[in-house]
């Protein structure tokens, strides 16, 4: 599964994208898995209130299923315009 990070989430994790092998059924499970891996993930995902997620380039929710999903992206609330 392709996982992308943007803005300060990217900076905290230290890379813009990676391929991750996971059996996580939901976004929340994937986050838990990543936080257990290394401190930089734990730091990036310490407050999920300020992290947004997109599944295959559509805004989604923490509880959403990852079945069939090819691309997950984590980022802060958007600030364009």
């Amino acid at each position: 599964m392709k996982v992308l990070y943007f803005a300060w989430v990217r900076e905290r994790i230290g890379l813009p994208r990676e391929d991750i092998e996971t059996n996580a059924a939901t976004v929340a499970e994937l986050v838990t898995e990543l936080r257990a891996r290394e401190e930089r993930y734990d730091l990036a995902f310490s407050d999920m209130d300020v992290v947004r997620v997109a599944l295959d380039q559509e805004l989604s929710e923490l509880g959403a299923s990852l079945v069939g999903v090819r691309e997950v992206a984590f980022f802060p609330p958007v600030t364009g315009g």
Binding site: F6, A7, Q57, L59, V78, T79, G81
Partner: protein, 149 residues
């Protein structure tokens, strides 16, 4: 209806001309242009770095534009959003809408800007004396969406 996400600057007058070229059924064109300000919250800003999510950005802008055209009588619309490093005074974003009537052109442009602000995957980092600082999302921007429900 068309969307561009680009490094380059743009010309609002040329965009209006392109929207209405060769047609005589448009009565009203509204444009919004967003610019980089040199201060934010009392702090000096040396530059603004805009990051985005290539692929999702274009899709989300096209979706917002399509939604606007189901809600209002839109004859043409255009969204341009820049990314990369921009200096104070530089143009960041432009939205243009064309309609037979001024009310539709105004409302749809505001709608597109409100949704773009809270739904399009762009992130701003301000350059300050103390280093780069990611801009926080504003509650007011999220609340601005409520009036379109």
């Amino acid at each position: 209806m068309s969307v561009s996400v680009q490094l380059e600057d743009f010309d609002v007058g040329a965009e209006i001309t392109a929207l209405s070229a060769g047609r005589t059924d448009i009565g009203a064109v509204v444009t919004f242009t967003g610019l980089v300000r040199s201060t934010a919250g009392g702090q000096d800003i040396s530059d603004m770095e805009l990051e985005h999510y290539p692929g999702m950005t274009e899709k989300s802008l096209a979706k917002i534009e399509a939604e606007a055209s189901t809600r209002w009588s839109l004859q043409a619309s255009r969204i341009i959003h820049r990314y990369g490093k921009l200096l104070p005074g530089a143009k960041i974003v432009m939205v243009a809408t064309a309609s037979p009537h001024r009310g539709d052109a105004f409302e749809s442009a505001e709608f597109i800007m409100d949704y773009l602000k809270s739904r399009a995957p762009f992130w701003k980092k301000e350059g300050t004396a103390g280093g780069g600082k990611w801009v926080d999302a504003r509650d007011a921007d999220e609340e601005a969406l409520d009036r379109w429900d």
